[in-house]
Structures are given as structure tokens and as C-alpha cells.
């Protein structure tokens, strides 16, 4: 390949150059995990067969369970219900956590006043809040939304706060030197300087939010993937549906993470992540 003159335009990033050269490696990102999954499913199947269990499902039973849920129209309904709750709780957490974190990171008195409180509330598992949430919100959708909010607001706040506190002094000095102060300083320097770390916090928080929605639905409501699992267990020991619910939770969690990771690819924040 002739070397291209990249002046003026951004050079196409030549990531993983040897992947293209070597035809075996090219499919490795697909083949390797597929092989792992196949082996996993096989062992699962054999173990169920060998144990002679008639309650725990084989992978095939689970696939049929998922199909049954699709046919009844329940799968989509439950996924939407869970995603709806996560979206609300998570969005509220971002709207509260990011500004709060920026303020705490920047204004020392605010940090001194609120940080101890945050550090005490933070280690309380959202699961521990379930009874309180039911007391305050009943079994309406607002109870799990509240739990998700609680679970995700702390990581977002803390990472935004740390991002501001760890900001390179030289950026601040340069901005002040150019006479940038007040809201302008926040908008043009502090926020963009903190953004990569804020996004990392948001990504972690989304993972936690997804964990929590399922837990909350097991107790507080009567729809969603968490509810599916508990309901399938209680109404007739349908473990094929229990595992089907678990599989869906895992898959959707993976998709959510892949989606939120896209935020890290924007040019304005790429600098904040390791160059690998």
C-alpha cells in the first residue's frame, strides 16, 4: 500500500494492521467467542442430561421458552417495561449527578458540606432501599425508577466530582489567562476537561442501573424481566422461563454497554482514554 499524504485530512486510523494481513486472525473476534459459547452450551446440556434433573432446563428448553414468550407477546412487553424504568431513573440520575458532581468538584465548601453525606449514602445497596421505596411509592413504576435513580446517581456524581478535582492545572491556568471566568469557564474548560471521566462514570452507572431494575422488579412491580423470573418460578416452577429471563437480561445488558461505549468515540473526549 503506498503511503498516503494525510495533510489536511485526518489520516484513517490504522488500527490492528496485522488483523487484515492474516486471514486467520480476521475472524478471530467472531470465532473465538462463538467457540467459547458453543462449548459452554454443550457442557450445560450434558450436565443437565447427566444429572437427570427435570426442573433445570437444557439450552434447547430455554430457547423454546424464549420462543413461547415471543409468541405470547410477553417478551417484548417485559423488555420495554424494564427499559422504560431504567431510562427514566438513569436519565434523572444523569441530570442530577453531572451538575452536582461538577459543583462539588469545583466549589470547595460545597464539597466539604455534602461529600461526607454522599459517602455515607453511597455504600447502602439499592436493594436495601426496596422496602423504603415500596413504602413511599407503593408498587407503581415510580418505585423502581426511584431505586434506579439512587443506584446510578452516586457513581455519576462521584466520577464527575473527581474529574473536576483531577483536572490538569495547566488547562485552568490557560483559561484564566485568557480571561475566561464564571459560567464560561465551566462551559468552555471545566466541563470538557471533565467529560471523558464523566462518561466513564455514566457507563458504570448504566451497568448498575440495569442490575438494579431487575432486582427491583422482583419485588415491587408486576411487569418487566425481573418480574418474569420471579413469576415463572412461583407460578409452576417454570425454570425454562427463569433462565430465558436471565439470558435476556444478559444480552440486553451487553447491548446497553455497547451503545453507551459509543460516547467514548467522540473526538472531544477521545483524548481522555488510553490510546490502544
Amino acid at each position: 500500500m503506498p503511503t498516503k499524504d494525510c495533510r489536511g485530512e485526518k489520516c484513517p486510523r490504522e488500527s490492528k494492521p496485522n488483523v487484515l494481513k492474516n486471514p486467520v486472525n480476521r475472524f478471530a473476534p467472531i470465532l473465538l467467542p462463538a467457540a467459547t459459547a458453543a462449548i459452554f452450551l454443550l457442557i450445560w446440556h450434558l450436565l443437565v442430561r447427566l444429572s437427570g434433573s427435570d426442573l433445570f432446563p437444557t439450552p434447547l428448553d430455554v430457547a423454546r421458552g424464549i420462543q413461547e414468550l415471543v409468541e405470547k407477546g410477553l417478551l417484548l412487553k417485559y423488555i420495554v417495561a424494564s427499559l422504560f424504568r431504567v431510562s427514566w431513573g438513569f436519565m434523572l440520575a444523569v441530570l442530577v449527578g453531572v451538575p452536582l458532581g461538577l459543583i462539588l468538584g469545583w466549589f470547595r465548601p460545597a464539597f466539604q458540606a455534602l461529600n461526607p453525606m454522599i459517602q455515607i449514602l453511597r455504600p447502602i445497596s439499592p436493594i436495601a432501599w426496596i422496602p423504603v421505596a415500596i413504602l413511599w411509592f407503593g408498587i407503581a413504576d415510580s418505585a423502581p425508577v426511584f431505586l434506579i435513580f439512587l443506584a446510578s446517581v452516586f457513581p455519576i456524581t462521584v466520577s464527575s466530582m473527581a474529574a473536576v478535582q483531577n483536572m490538569q492545572l495547566v488547562y485552568l491556568r490557560a483559561a484564566q489567562n485568557f480571561g475566561v471566568t464564571g459560567m464560561q469557564l465551566f462551559r468552555r474548560v471545566i466541563f470538557p476537561a471533565a467529560l471523558p471521566q464523566i462518561i466513564t462514570g455514566i457507563r458504570i452507572a448504566l451497568g448498575i442501573a440495569w442490575l438494579v431494575v431487575v432486582a427491583a422488579e422482583m419485588i415491587a412491580v408486576n411487569s418487566g424481566l425481573g418480574y418474569l423470573i420471579i413469576d415463572a418460578r412461583n407460578a409452576g416452577k417454570r425454570y425454562d422461563l427463569v433462565v430465558a429471563g436471565m439470558v435476556m437480561i444478559g444480552l440486553i445488558g451487553l447491548v446497553l454497554d455497547l451503545l453507551i461505549r459509543r460516547l467514548e468515540r467522540f473526538d472531544e473526549v477521545k483524548w481522555g482514554y488510553g490510546q490502544r
Partner: protein
């Protein structure tokens, strides 16, 4: 000789930082006196770690002296000021902005047309044409340093504080940047305080070279470079001044911890 008005006036300036152990102080600057006239080009040299950046940061308003006074344009320094732009030793280019956005950073209050024109001009001067839309992470260290220099020049400040601004540049680029800086300085009558560890560079650029001693640093000596520009690097005057500064710094070597006289 002192008919020009004084721009920077540092009097009996001391600076110490809290040391590793509680109550212990690291004395960095001791009894520093420095005057810079308006329109003067002053270079500060001294061994590494002696306090050159510290002194410049005090004049720039980023850190406060422990004792003494620092005045700029007649009033005590009280924080940074857009009329006096700093080029930082550690790169201060904003990584979330493109090259052109960085260079235009100090011009936000100006009209878009004026800003674009200035940005284009200084991008050309520092040889970054074609990289306007690149992000700093896509540039080399030397290119990033040129972005910062262009950003400082584009802001059109009356005073420039430059802390080893050409440190990461290759030899030829460095020569070109020196010539450009002298040209801008002569055309725009700026006052420049320029920290460097390169004695040759100091003698090529400055009206006056301030030589600092090792830490706790004070001004060991000031060497006036009364030579016409562009400077003849083989002239007896140039060589004499250079050797003089080498000698002043060399004497410090006996005390240990002196810098690298390159």
C-alpha cells in the same frame, strides 16, 4: 539608558513551598530583584529546578510570592490577565479543541471574521497549515507546542511570558520560531520574558539575559546583549556574551546541581 518605562518590577521576592515533612519549607526563591522595561526582551536562564518557572508564575499571577512584591504595569500582580499571555512549559493546549479552535480560544470576544483571519495567519506562521481540524492527540509534541505558541501570539497581548516554549522543537523549527518571535516582537513592540535552559538561545534572542543561581535562587548576574539583530553568531560580541554566561553558570557547578549548559 533607563528612559523606557518599567513594565515588570520584582522587589525582594521570596518563595518557599511546603516541604515533604510537616513544617518544613523548601526555599526556592530568595531576594529576587528583576526589572523589565516595556518593549524589552529578557531571557532568564539558570540550572534546572532553580525556580525559573516559579518566578515566571509569580509574575504571571498564578502563584503568590511568600515575601516581597511583584508589580506589572505599575500595579501589584493579582491573578492572571489577558493582556499578558503565558506559554506554559507543560503543554496547555486544550485536547478537546481542534488546532484552530485552540488558537482562536483567546479571541472569542472578537468578530468571527477577525478571528478567522488571525487564526489562519498564525497557523501559517507556525507551519501547521493543513492541520486546522486536527486534535492535539493527533499531533506530535513539537506541533502541540507550536499550537500553544500560536494561541499566545494570536491573542495579541502586550506582554508574553514564555516558559521554555521551544523545548520540544527540532533544531530547524526552533531557528525559524526564534526568527519569527523576534520579528513579531520588533513589529508589535511586545515585552517578552523568556525562560530557557539554552544559553545560545538566550544570547540570540535577548536584550538582556538574567542568570539565576542554583536553588534557593536569586539573580546571580544580568548580562546585557547590546548586539544588532539579526545576530551574527560568530561575532566577538556574541561569543563574549555567551562565554560570560557559561562562566557565571559554570561557577555554580561547584555548588552542585547546576543545569546543562548546552
Amino acid at each position: 539608558m533607563d528612559n523606557a518605562k518599567t513594565m515588570i518590577e520584582v522587589r525582594d521576592c521570596w518563595k518557599s513551598f511546603p516541604g515533604k515533612k510537616a513544617g518544613e519549607q523548601v526555599h526556592v526563591l530568595e531576594r529576587v530583584n528583576l526589572d523589565v522595561h516595556a518593549g524589552e526582551f529578557v531571557c532568564v536562564v539558570g540550572p534546572s529546578g532553580c525556580g525559573k518557572s516559579t518566578l515566571l508564575n509569580i509574575i504571571g499571577g498564578f502563584i503568590k510570592e511568600t515575601r516581597g512584591t511583584a508589580k506589572v504595569a505599575g500595579s501589584p500582580v493579582n491573578g492572571p490577565d489577558p493582556r499578558r499571555i503565558f506559554v506554559f512549559q507543560e503543554n496547555g493546549v486544550f485536547p478537546w479543541l481542534t488546532v484552530e479552535e485552540n488558537i482562536g480560544f483567546g479571541l472569542m470576544s472578537k468578530s468571527a471574521a477577525h478571528r478567522e483571519e488571525r487564526v489562519a495567519h498564525y497557523i501559517g506562521m507556525v507551519g501547521l497549515t493543513g492541520f486546522e481540524k486536527s486534535y492535539p492527540r493527533e499531533l506530535s509534541g513539537g506541533m502541540r507546542q507550536r499550537v500553544e505558541i500560536a494561541r499566545a501570539l494570536a491573542a495579541d497581548a502586550e506582554v508574553l511570558y514564555m516558559d521554555e516554549p521551544f523545548g520540544a522543537l527540532d533544531f530547524l523549527t526552533r531557528l525559524k520560531m526564534r526568527a519569527d518571535l523576534i520579528r513579531i516582537w520588533q513589529a508589535e513592540k511586545k515585552t517578552i520574558v523568556f525562560v530557557t535552559h539554552d544559553i545560545e538561545e538566550a544570547v540570540q534572542l535577548a536584550d538582556r539575559v538574567v542568570v539565576m543561581s542554583k536553588r534557593p535562587a536569586t539573580v546571580a548576574e544580568e548580562v546585557k546583549i547590546d548586539l544588532p539583530r539579526p545576530r551574527d553568531l560568530d561575532s566577538p560580541g556574541y561569543l563574549g556574551a555567551r562565554d560570560r554566561i557559561f562562566a557565571i553558570m559554570g561557577m555554580d557547578v561547584h555548588g552542585g546541581g547546576a543545569g546543562d549548559p548546552r
